[in-house]
């Protein structure tokens, strides 16, 4: 493809995103954590809906998910289901987290953990280990962005330059406008992704079948490759147990940026309203996945499954749509990486550096903004350029850990007797099992490593909590006035 239009359209998207991100500041001072970190708790339901939706729809939707459809089939839809379940999680927990933040001044997940268990060390531990998974996630999204620029520019923008360009663009508006920039740019990116996904999907279906119905594509798959229409999929590796445990583990991975997004809402009711409609956004996945299915019969010799949409578009779609696809994919990866970079910087400043260096809130606010620069250019950029083979492994272990923090949340929302030592013991036991079952003996019996971790983690957490002192009553009562406004149920009566 020699046309300059795809690159120009993609770069135009980058320019618009930067302009929106910079304008989001609106003359406010960003040197305090309430403003830069959680947008002054001001986001309305529509912005919050698009913020969470675009944040959860990563480059995976435009590259990985069609690639899964191309190589495995309908197994890819476990993602759509767990994303809908995350909306249930947001509906129940989001309003309570917002109230914790508003009443106790939390701006990060780790601050809430440190406060509930009266342990800055536990908060710092949570912040540090969550940062591993978050950075790995941001690196993967940055690699996706750079790859898109490389392909769309016909090789003119090498990977290293693409990484630097994308990170520089995000750094400028993230530094200037913080969470407000993420909210506004994600709103723009969310709408763009929805339009691009359906335009590309319908055009691809038309070019492959002559009609606009997805039925033509699936009738052909049913006749020629019916193994793609059921589990365990064409690769034979998505068993019922792996489907089920992957959904459960993903559901209970309370990642820090999501927590920050909840705390950015203007009210508890706003979160509930946004979460209610959140699953409707995941219709964005369907057309992209259909292009993956088209690839099964039209691009049978593809070397990299996750390039199926891009390859098909470049061979069959008009240049304007290829450009929009580039912009949409870039939007997906940027909208997912920036909340993770932001939350790592916020949490490292607030939950690690502030208690260790005894910094004031003012200094910590300035530090959080500045810290995005070393995180991006000394950690994310080198890793994205080097593309270490173990990155996906780091991400899997990181996400596995995220689900192991579950005891901390059980003690925050359901069980007042949970103790600091119980949480630490559960997390450590669960994490070790998750690491072992991700690296040494991957997913035994077809069950997700994180699920194995939880099966050890939770009994250890309960047992150690019952054997060790609980947190002070006044702290527990403060939290449970919000988590259980109508009181408790006593077991055994």
């Amino acid at each position: 493809m020699n046309s300059p239009w795809p690159l120009l359209i993609t770069l135009a998207y980058v320019a618009i995103a930067m302009a929106i991100g910079l304008r989001a500041r609106g003359g406010r001072s960003m040197n305090n954590l309430e403003e830069w970190g959680v947008a002054g708790r001001s986001m309305g339901p529509v912005t919050l809906y698009l913020l969470i939706a675009a944040g959860s729809v990563s480059a995976y939707t435009f590259m990985g998910a069609p690639g899964w459809a191309y190589s495995k089939g309908v197994a890819v839809f476990y993602v759509a289901i767990y994303l809908a379940y995350l909306a249930l999680i947001a509906w129940y927990f989001g309003p309570k987290v917002w109230q914790f933040g508003e009443q106790f001044g939390h701006v990060t997940q780790a601050s809430a953990i440190a406060d509930r268990y009266q342990s800055p060390a536990l908060g710092a531990l949570a912040a540090l280990v969550m940062a591993i998974g978050s950075i790995a996630y941001a690196v993967l999204q940055t690699i996706g962005s750079a790859y898109i620029l490389f392909v769309i520019s016909g090789g003119l923008i090498p990977i290293w330059l693409g990484v630097v360009l994308v990170l520089a663009c995000i750094a400028v508006y993230l530094y200037a406008s913080g969470q407000r920039a993420i909210g506004r740019t994600n709103a723009f990116q969310g709408v763009l992704m929805l339009i691009v996904a359906w335009a590309v999907g319908l055009w691809a279906v038309h070019s492959a079948t002559g009609g606009l119905s997805f039925g033509g594509v699936f009738e052909r798959i049913q006749a020629e490759h019916s193994e793609f229409l059921t589990l365990p999929g064409a690769g034979g590796d998505m068993s019922f147990s792996f489907w089920t445990t992957s959904i459960i583990v993903s559901m209970f991975s309370f990642m820090p940026p999501v927590w920050t997004q909840w705390m950015s809402a203007s009210s508890a009711r706003t979160i509930r309203r946004s979460a209610t409609w959140l699953p409707t956004y995941y219709v964005v996945i369907l057309p992209m996945v259909v292009v993956g299915f088209i690839g099964i019969f039209s691009l049978p010799e593809l070397a990299r499954a996750d390039t199926v949409v891009l390859e098909y578009a470049m061979q069959n779609l008009p240049v304007v749509l290829v450009g929009l696809l580039g912009a949409g994919t870039l939007a997906a990866s940027m909208s997912s990486s920036e909340p993770f970079i932001h939350s790592v910087s916020l949490s490292l400043s607030k939950d690690v550096l502030q208690p260790v260096l005894k910094l004031s809130n003012g200094v910590t606010g300035k530090l959080a903004r500045l810290l995005i620069l070393p995180i991006m250019f000394l950690v994310v950029a080198p890793l994205a350029i080097a593309e270490p083979g173990s990155l996906v492994m780091i991400l899997l272990v990181g996400l596995g850990f995220a689900s192991q923090v579950l005891p901390a949340f059980i003690g925050m929302f359901f069980w007042p007797r949970a103790s600091r030592l119980g949480v630490i013991a559960g997390i450590v036991a669960g994490f070790l099992i998750t690491v072992a079952f991700t690296t040494l003996w991957p997913h035994p019996l077809g069950i997700h490593a994180g699920f194995w971790g939880l099966m050890i983690n939770l009994p250890v957490f309960v047992a150690v909590s019952l054997m060790t002192p609980a947190t002070h009553d006044e702290v527990v009562e403060r939290f449970f006035r919000i988590a259980a406004p109508r009181g408790f149920t006593r077991l055994g009566q």
Binding site: L88, Y92, A268, T489
Partner: protein
């Protein structure tokens, strides 16, 4: 405090908890095994149609939940 737990305190709350659990069950094993067939419904694979039914059922349950929470006037 040792035996205290947060559980629903009204029939509506229990109904909502059961609906949430039913939704999770609908998208996982063993229910997902019952729709694991290579048949097409309105031109889409059965598993895909089922996935989107579960997804939109989540919206319906949360809409009902909003009415309950706002009627009872507690967050």
């Amino acid at each position: 405090m040792r035996r205290l737990l947060v559980l629903p305190t009204s029939w509506a709350g229990w109904g909502l908890l059961i609906a949430f659990l039913a939704l999770v069950l609908a998208g996982t094993w063993p229910v997902i095994g019952w729709v694991n067939r290579a048949t097409l419904v309105i031109g889409l694979p059965l598993l895909v149609v089922w996935s989107y039914l579960v997804i939109f059922a989540c919206v319906v349950v949360m809409l009902i939940g909003n009415r309950i929470v706002e009627r009872d006037d507690h967050e």
